[in-house]
């Protein structure tokens, strides 16, 4: 490990390298901005307004908020043990399933009084967070902890195994097709229309839950003892151990936090998409991972930023190119980022990124 830190940053800093560095950083931003700017201009020319673009961006941001919640889970875990928790998307899916399962228990249904519904949904969300947090901790114990000294690829492989197991749990639970769930919040109801740009209940919900959660999480990690332990463990597990930090507990707590976020995202997704599917986690997981990488994996702010950007890119691609090509665009972005700027938009260079 010590050799790693000594040589953690092999990026050279000649003038040309510095230029290249700047080009890669701002180049990425430029590429990201080029698409909407181009669309804005072409819209202005052809239609004379930006309504479509505005609508795309609103949808993109609300989709992106949910992606961001999932992406935070990836980034937290990666930040501390440099492992892509491949099963994270499935934990998110289980979160949706748990929350939906509890609607009946808590008597939540369409058309019930708003205060009662809010209380019920909060209770369902907390339950989903607890279940998913616990599940994530269990996954860590079963699939990753025994392999902490094995080559790095070993836990990634078990993570994939875990992901498939959880998908099957989903199939056993609710079958293999998508199912529609009651639209509790009347998500498509237009709340505000500004110059043709529609903001509906779903968009507000996604923002209303994501923003406080992200603030809570960042301040928790910045201020609390656990947060400090997490950062110490992330930097150097051995040193952290010497300083009296219980590394195992810290890692477990990180998985707990990540799982809880996935649980919350599961409920929001349920209300926002009004559907449920065993495979929803896989797709969302890949997209959220892309978001985490785009922002700079290991970086909390980056994950949120990446989530919002990927949300917008996805919606723009869907609207302009076609729904069937959205995934291609998102994955193409993933490859481009990995190749040209693996440390992401605001991430620090990691060893992997080298």
């Amino acid at each position: 490990m010590s050799t790693n830190t000594a040589t953690a940053d092999p990026a050279s800093h000649r003038l040309s390298d510095t230029l290249r560095e700047a080009a890669s950083k701002y180049g990425l931003i430029a590429v990201l901005l080029a698409l909407p700017v181009y669309l804005a201009i072409s819209d202005l020319i052809s239609k004379g307004n930006l309504t479509d673009l505005g609508n795309n961006l609103v949808l993109g941001l609300s989709n992106g908020a949910i992606i961001a919640l999932v992406a935070l889970g990836y980034t937290l875990v990666y930040g501390i043990i440099e492992l892509i928790n491949f099963a994270h998307g499935e934990v998110f899916m289980i979160g949706s399933f748990v929350a939906f399962g509890l609607w009946g228990t808590f008597g939540i249904s369409e058309g019930m009084a708003v205060p009662g519904m809010i209380v019920g949904l909060l209770a369902a969300m907390i339950a989903a967070m607890i279940v998913c947090g616990g599940l994530n901790v269990m996954i860590e114990r079963v699939a990753y902890k025994p392999l902490r000294n094995a080559p790095k690829l070993a836990p990634l492989i078990t993570a994939i195994g875990m992901s498939f197991i959880l998908q099957n749990v989903g199939i056993l639970w609710r079958g293999s097709s998508q199912a529609s769930v009651p639209d509790l919040i009347n998500q498509s109801n237009d709340l505000v229309t500004i110059g043709g740009v529609v903001i509906n209940n779903g968009d507000v919900l996604a923002a209303a839950v994501t923003i406080p959660l992200v603030f809570l999480l960042t301040s928790f990690i910045n201020r609390s003892r656990l947060g400090k332990a997490m950062r110490a463990t992330a930097q150097d597990p051995d040193a952290a151990r010497l300083m009296g930090i219980n590394v195992n507990t810290t890692i477990s707590m990180t998985f707990l936090l990540g799982g809880m976020l996935a649980g919350a995202a599961g409920l929001i997704n349920l209300l926002y998409q009004t559907s449920i599917w065993y495979f929803q986690g896989f797709q969302a997981g890949l997209i959220a991972f892309t978001a985490a990488v785009m922002g700079g994996i290991g970086n909390l702010k980056g994950a949120v930023l990446g989530g919002l950007i990927i949300g917008c890119i996805g919606q723009l691609a869907e609207f302009r190119i076609g729904a069937e090509w959205t995934a291609v665009v998102v994955f193409a972005y993933l490859v481009l980022i990995m190749v040209f700027r693996p440390q992401g938009l605001i991430g620090e260079e990691t060893r992997e990124a080298g």
Partner: protein
């Protein structure tokens, strides 16, 4: 287990190879020429070819490729394009034929002999392998996994949506989930044309020959300059580079070779299944093949072959035919088949945690997975 490993050394390997292939060759004579078992054996043999290909990339060179299905797709589309009526108005509707069988040579579209197809598939998938490998060269470990996964997904989407990409005289890139079919059957010079409606045995023997060739290639590569370089890169990239191993070229050769095997197998399966359907090129397939090599033992040639046969039979025989009713018998309302991927996932997890070296481990890889070597290498930027 160590006895077993001793059995596969030096001269004994010859005996084992001969006996194994000999037994395999007479196996179908005990079953009906159209029986399910023969079908299962054919699929298993085709998967052995694929798994041995992926083993070069993951097992030898240590590059975790999660998008291997892309090469299955490229191989399958090679035969889809060049041995069907997909490009129906080529040559004014007369078709274009190279040593095509009697039946195929009167059909419109491009029809090349299967042996030509194999060569074309090797070239196409080899190039595809290098192109997909190229962006991963600067990356290591899990990032390679994710980039290859992303590529696999991109290729899948192109396969599914390729019916929207048209060129020339309205030719489609792929036929999406509507499948390109029928594909010409294998028609080798000197043999009667293969016909899966009458006997599956020729397909089986043909695939067995492929398996034999691929096994031979694997053994030879492992004990060659290139094989040592792959293992050196897997063990310690920095040291390997410092010993004169060119990282870029060596890694790309691993990708290309592994991909080529996937392509050969893909072309074979395309012909055997008589259709190329985008449905078959999903992420799960990559994991299916990966599970084979993990089960058998990463890097171990015999292990991987056994893993592939085992998993293929779990998939085509044990789960759907033998144990399918088990959940219902114990009062659960589902068939075991729906848990197929969960079972693979569980196997991967179990093997990785309890016996990471696999069923029949390779000597060196076993050590590595027990925590010897590798690990804390310093970072090097491949130029």
């Amino acid at each position: 287990m160590s006895n077993l490993r001793g059995l596969l050394k030096g001269k004994n390997n010859l005996v084992v190879s001969l006996v194994a292939l000999g037994v395999a060759a007479i196996l179908p004579l005990f079953f009906d020429p159209l029986s399910n078992l023969t079908n299962n054996f054919i699929l298993a043999a085709a998967f052995v070819v694929m798994a041995l290909g992926l083993n070069i990339v993951v097992g030898f060179a240590g590059l975790l490729d999660l998008g291997y299905v892309a090469f299955y797709a490229f191989g399958a589309y090679t035969i889809g394009w060049f041995a069907s009526d997909h490009f129906s108005s080529v040559n004014g509707g007369e078709g274009f034929h190279i040593a095509a069988g009697e039946f195929a040579s009167n059909l419109p579209g491009i029809h090349l002999n299967f042996l030509v197809i194999v060569v074309v598939a090797v070239i196409i998938t080899g190039i595809a392998g290098m192109l997909i490998g190229l962006p991963t060269l600067r990356l290591r470990g899990d990032y390679i996994a994710i980039v290859t996964l992303a590529f696999g997904e991109i290729i899948y989407r192109f396969a599914v949506n390729g019916d929207e990409i048209t060129f020339g005289e309205g030719y489609k890139l792929t036929n999406g989930r509507q499948a390109i079919s029928p594909i010409d059957s294998i028609d080798l010079p000197g043999f009667a044309p293969f016909d899966s409606a009458f006997s599956l045995r020729p397909f089986y023997w043909f695939c067995l020959v492929l398996v034999g060739i691929v096994l031979l290639v694997n053994f030879r590569l492992r004990d060659s300059r290139l094989g040592r370089a792959w293992i050196a890169i897997r063990e310690d990239e920095v040291a390997a580079a410092s010993m004169g191993v060119p990282l870029v070229k060596t890694k790309l050769l691993a990708y290309a070779t592994g991909a080529a095997f996937g392509g050969i197998s893909g072309a074979f399966l395309g012909s055997y299944l008589t259709s190329v359907n985008a449905n078959n090129f999903q992420f799960g397939f990559s994991i299916f093949i990966l599970a084979m090599i993990i089960l058998g033992g990463l890097g171990s040639i015999w292990g991987v072959a056994i893993g592939a046969i085992l998993l293929s039979f779990i998939n085509t025989y044990f789960i759907p035919e033998v144990f399918n009713e088990v959940p219902r018998k114990i009062g659960l309302e589902f068939d075991l088949t729906i848990l197929n991927f969960g079972i693979f996932g569980f196997l991967i997890l179990l093997v990785m945690v309890l016996r990471p070296q696999g069923i029949l481990p390779e000597r060196r890889r076993a050590l590595e997975l027990e925590g010897v070597g590798a690990g804390d290498a310093i970072e090097v930027r491949a130029p």
